[in-house]
């Protein structure tokens, strides 16, 4: 008896096998959920979806009609929608003195506006209660230099989570975020070319290891299941790093130039 038996779940941002979305998809499938996976790159989603017997769809979180189509597809294919996880993200890093309007708008469109519209379109198709989940970030709580665009939008999305919890609660829909720390994933792979970056992070983590995409999947599973009486919360799965801080650039030593823009 899987912990998500009988549930239909949409996961957005699952085009790379090393992503949080793909790890969540694998975990949900193992727990008995029926899945609809989506991302901008259909080829990538198909590769993740196929071994799981999941439906694969192209979806750009910045296009509301894509989101509506995604929610409709889940209902058409599986007769309902119970869980929706938003793992779509874009890495934007630049100090304020260098950040461009385009970078700021991109982060807001994907992380803030995208999350709000994702909730809106998914909740519309949740006729029997459900669980909405989005991925926040340690950077929304720590204050790492170079992350105004990324973390500002993520923090904004967390406030959307709290308000969505208020608005959708009466329909039995809980809304929560998961905040991982620096996690080895499709989006961050480039940072691992410089081993001192990960090492500098581990020093700030009480549990002395980086988080993994599986940690994210485990937290998502709990939030998705009927076992969690939480709503409007940001689940901090940073291994305790929010008790400390993010490392400085000096500590990361020889770090990649923070302007490296790397989309998932």
């Amino acid at each position: 008896m899987g912990r998500l038996e009988g549930k239909v779940a949409v996961i957005l941002g699952a085009s790379d096998p090393a992503s949080m979305g793909a790890a969540t998809a694998r975990r949900f499938a193992a727990e008995g959920a029926k899945l609809v996976l989506a991302a901008r790159r259909l080829e990538g989603v198909r590769a993740v979806a196929e071994p799981l017997g999941a439906l694969a769809l192209a979806c750009d979180i910045t296009r509301e009609e894509d989101l509506a189509r995604l929610a409709d597809a889940a209902v058409e294919a599986h007769g309902g929608l119970d869980v929706a996880v938003n793992c779509a993200g874009v890495s934007v890093a630049a100090p304020l003195d260098e950040v461009t309007r385009e970078q700021l708008m991109l982060s807001c469109e994907v992380h803030l506006v995208g999350t709000a519209l994702f909730f809106k379109q998914m909740a519309r198709r949740m006729a029997r209660g459900g669980s909405l989940i989005t991925i926040s970030s340690l950077t929304a709580y720590a204050a790492p230099r170079g992350y105004a665009a990324y973390a500002g939008a993520k923090r904004g999305a967390d406030q959307v989570v709290r308000i969505a919890a208020q608005e959708y609660g009466p329909r039995g829909i809980k809304v929560n975020a998961i905040a991982p720390g620096f996690t080895r994933s499709a989006m961050t792979e480039g940072y691992f070319a410089v081993p001192s970056i990960a090492a500098a992070f581990v020093k700030e983590i009480p549990l002395r290891r980086l988080g993994t995409v599986e940690d994210v999947a485990n937290a998502a599973l709990w939030l998705a299941s009927d076992e969690s009486f939480l709503s409007g919360q940001v689940l901090d799965i940073t291994g305790g790093q929010t008790l400390n801080r993010t490392p400085t650039e000096e500590e990361m030593m020889g770090a990649l130039a923070p302007a490296a823009n790397q989309e998932e």
Binding site: A30, G172, F229, Q233
Partner: protein, 302 residues
């Protein structure tokens, strides 16, 4: 009972329990599969505050046992502890949580008998409701002893006991450690205080593989709240404060405790708000409760 289900590995059996929950039993040690319902298999869990019939500690004890843990329940009264221990095939040790010596002795006994402590839960508490300006020195001393000094020395002992193996520490806090409830200052202040100590423990002992977190329920039907919750008007006033439209149950807390206790959880130093979104709002004010009970023709206790 024990009927094999088709479509699953033959080593798994279903068993119906008294609570009608389906428990998956593993018979050949192959539990690391995807379909585990023995999420705490092989763990030794110590739960303090489990003597009150139907309280949160008891719900956690039952759930942990269903998930495969060896559970040792503690509290001040022998009879209910022995009864619960027998029901869940666990063990019991007396403990007065206001006494450092008693806490040390209890945890030493658990280690002596079961080898270690993987998970420890403090579910003790005293739900004192009294106006702040009327709170006596005796009341505050008693509150501090149970809700601050006891947990502090419990944490102090636990980090020593858990140092060789790591473990998960779970403190039952309260939504009122962050949101207001009238006439509850001594309770709320001590709960908030120990949450901060939990964060300290998480930060200082995380490198030993020790995680420490709190769970913050809202109003929950337990022996501690039973008297107040006889008023339907009062319960309804509280219910309206919950975005998810219902108040919590001891089982909600137990489900969260399983998550925090399991190896699946990369959280530490956190307070999990297991209260259906209550902290986005607030509890009813005392005057609102009084009015609602008056309107319903119920005697005022708030």
């Amino acid at each position: 009972m024990g009927a094999q289900m088709t479509g699953l590995a033959p080593s798994f059996h279903f068993m119906q329990t008294q609570t009608d929950k389906i428990v998956l039993l593993c018979t050949d040690g192959g539990c690391e599969g995807k379909r585990d319902m023995s999420r705490l298999a092989g763990k030794v869990a110590s739960i303090v505050g489990a003597a009150g019939k139907g309280n949160i500690g008891q719900a956690i004890a039952r759930r942990f046992a269903q998930e495969g843990a060896k559970v040792v329940v503690s509290g001040r009264r022998e009879a209910p502890l022995a009864e619960l221990a027998a029901e869940i095939d666990g063990d019991w040790v007396l403990c007065d949580f206001t006494s450092k010596a008693s806490i040390d002795r209890m945890l030493d006994t658990v280690v002596e008998r079961h080898g270690r402590v993987d998970v420890a839960v403090n579910s003790t508490g005293w739900g004192l409701l009294v106006p702040t300006h009327e709170t006596t020195e005796a009341q505050l001393d008693a509150m501090l002893a149970l809700q601050f000094k006891g947990p502090f020395f419990w944490l102090q002992k636990l980090v020593q006991v858990m140092a060789p193996t790591g473990g998960s520490i779970i403190q039952i806090s309260s939504a009122t450690a962050v949101i207001m409830l009238d006439n509850h200052a001594a309770y709320m202040g001590t709960k908030a205080g120990i949450d901060h100590v939990i964060r300290t423990v998480a930060n200082e002992y995380g490198h030993l593989g020790i995680r420490a977190n709190s769970i913050a329920p809202g109003l929950t039907e337990t022996p501690m709240t039973a008297d107040a919750m006889k008023s339907r008007a009062l319960v309804e006033e509280f219910r309206k404060c919950y975005p998810l439209g219902r108040i919590g149950t001891p089982e909600d807390v137990a489900a969260a405790a399983v998550f925090l206790a399991s190896d699946e959880c990369f959280m530490t130093g956190q307070v999990l708000q297991v209260n259906g979104g209550l902290t986005l709002r607030r509890n009813p004010r005392a005057c609102e409760l009084e009015a609602a009970m008056r309107d319903a023709g119920e005697g005022g206790v708030a």
